[in-house]
């Protein structure tokens, strides 16, 4: 499949907000509500763009630039991932290193904006966010290295492609580890509650308490894009019709993405948030899965015909 700028940007425009809307819809259905329409996140973002922001006098210009850095890094990370199974716009060997570090830049921007307000709550969210991400970084590298050694390539989108080569356990470990990564990065349960209003239980929510207007819209968009990127990675790993390409592959990928969103919404509805001190242990599970995937990949590469 040739690189298609148009299709990639089109999916980046619609899918993130749709997926977020789907997760919210699933949560509503589980609780017995009818729930907001699927496009509600889009309506929220459009409304926010028309509000004129208020800035705290404690903040510096960094505060109003940081949300756009976050959005830019989310888009930059989307450049190397197979969105909806499409071939990414810019891919090069070892692009998953770029992926991880660009997400780190976005995270540092939001953390600095939170510290900029001089508010105790936001500092709390910034500290928690930074701590979780330190334990999370190695997971991505372990999983990517495992998939790369199996696929014999170093480019992310090629490594993520599903191959019917019998490495089922490796793929399962990779998918589970990536799911935990997604839960942490997209602030989902059981790591973080995106709809809580209690400061003691917030991680991402509390960092954006002081943003308003277009800045808040940028942050929500960026978060939605990160969710979409993570979901695309998992869907690509599970899609057996990816090689066939065309409409069947795309439809399967979209169905799998929807399935992952439904799964996230279901976990969020049925599982309580973990105790804060236990979250690094939960991420440790992802580390273990990544390590197992790595060992399977390393020895599998030798024993493969």
């Amino acid at each position: 499949m040739t690189v298609s700028w148009f299709e990639n940007w089109l999916s980046l425009l619609f899918m993130p907000l749709l997926l977020t809307g789907l997760v919210n819809r699933v949560k509503s259905l589980w609780s017995g509500r009818r729930g907001p329409p699927l496009l509600q996140p889009a309506y929220d973002v459009l409304k926010l763009l028309r509000k004129s922001p208020v800035y705290s006098a404690t903040t510096t210009p960094l505060f109003r630039i940081a949300p756009w850095v976050f959005l830019a890094t989310a888009c930059a990370s989307a450049l190397v991932v197979p969105l909806c199974g499409l071939r990414p716009i810019a891919s090069f060997p070892f692009d998953f290193v770029w992926f991880a570090y660009v997400w780190a830049l976005g995270r540092v921007a939001i953390v600095l904006a939170a510290l900029d307000t001089g508010s105790a709550f936001e500092g709390m969210g910034a500290a928690r966010e930074s701590t979780f991400s330190t334990v999370l970084e190695p997971v991505l590298f372990l999983v990517a290295a495992a998939l790369c050694s199996r696929a014999g390539t170093h480019t992310l989108h090629v490594a993520l492609r599903f191959e019917a080569d019998g490495a089922v356990l490796l793929r399962v470990c990779a998918v589970l580890a990536l799911l935990i990564v997604l839960q942490v990065e997209a602030s989902r349960m059981p790591v973080d509650d995106p709809s809580t209003h209690l400061e003691l239980t917030m991680v991402h929510e509390v960092m954006v308490l002081d943003h308003s207007g277009a800045d808040l819209a940028a942050i929500q968009l960026g978060a939605a894009i990160k969710l979409f990127v993570g979901t695309s990675m998992i869907a690509a790993l599970l899609n057996p019709w990816a090689a066939a390409g065309g409409a069947l592959g795309l439809a399967a990928n979209l169905a799998l993405s929807a399935l992952v969103a439904v799964l996230l919404g279901t976990i969020e509805s049925l599982v309580a948030r973990l105790k804060l001190r236990s979250v690094p242990n939960y991420i440790g599970i992802a580390l273990g899965l990544g390590a197992m995937a790595l060992l399977l990949g390393a020895w599998g590469a030798v024993s493969a015909p």
């Binding site: 509503s28 589980w30 609780s31 017995g32 509500r33 009818r34 729930g35 907001p36 329409p37 509600q40 309506y43 929220d44 459009l46 409304k47 028309r50 509000k51 004129s52 922001p53 208020v54 209003h197 929510e205 308490l209 002081d210 943003h211 308003s212 207007g213 808040l216 279901t266 049925l270």
Partner: protein
Amino acid sequence: MSLLRSLRVRLSQGTPYIGDVRTAVPEGFRGLPILAETPCGACRACVEICPTQALAAAPLGLDLGRCVFCAACEDACPHGTIQFTPEPKLGAGRREDLLLTAGNSEPLRVKASATFARLFGRSLKLRQVSAGGCNACELELNAVVNVNFDAQRFGIEWVASPRHADALVVTGPLTRAMQEAIRAAWDAMPEPRFLVAVGACAISGGLYREATETDRTFFESVGPSLFVPGCPPHPLTFLNALLDFLGVDA
């Protein structure tokens, strides 16, 4: 497996949300009072007995903004002129619209605001400030987003920070202790924004209108755009008032 069990429980619950909030009328609710044209003997029994002086005689009038819906007037009236119906739609966009006169029978409908309908028609985020009330209004407002009323299906939601909010929803008579806090909350909101007064205490001071700790200067400087009477108002009152204000069709 617990997932299957949860699914079974969920399916057994059916659909607990009210399908059409625009036409739902809650059973047993003391809502819109109907003032009959006749007979009223101007005996002033209702005027004397009303705890918030919400009634006026000759001509008969009832200020819904002061009414605490205790129905003492209904019991006191020898002619049965005042009748409370279960109709929940009571919101108004102007304070004077809450002054009921004899012969009213239509539920109150709020006139849609042109600017706000365009901006917030599909997405409205609310921030609640409780300014010294008894917490009954707050409980009802909490219920607006539960599984029965499900305000989120209209894009209406409570948010934690006024920076994220479009409207400030105030309950309670506004005490002196809450002056700075409520001023801070309003100042923190980005434009365009509006104020909603919910409950008899917020609209007129309610039972605490004459109290020494009540300080309603905030409402004098920032006028509410929407009034939701009740003591406490039903979630349907609040929801219908908002939906009318935003021009959302039934």
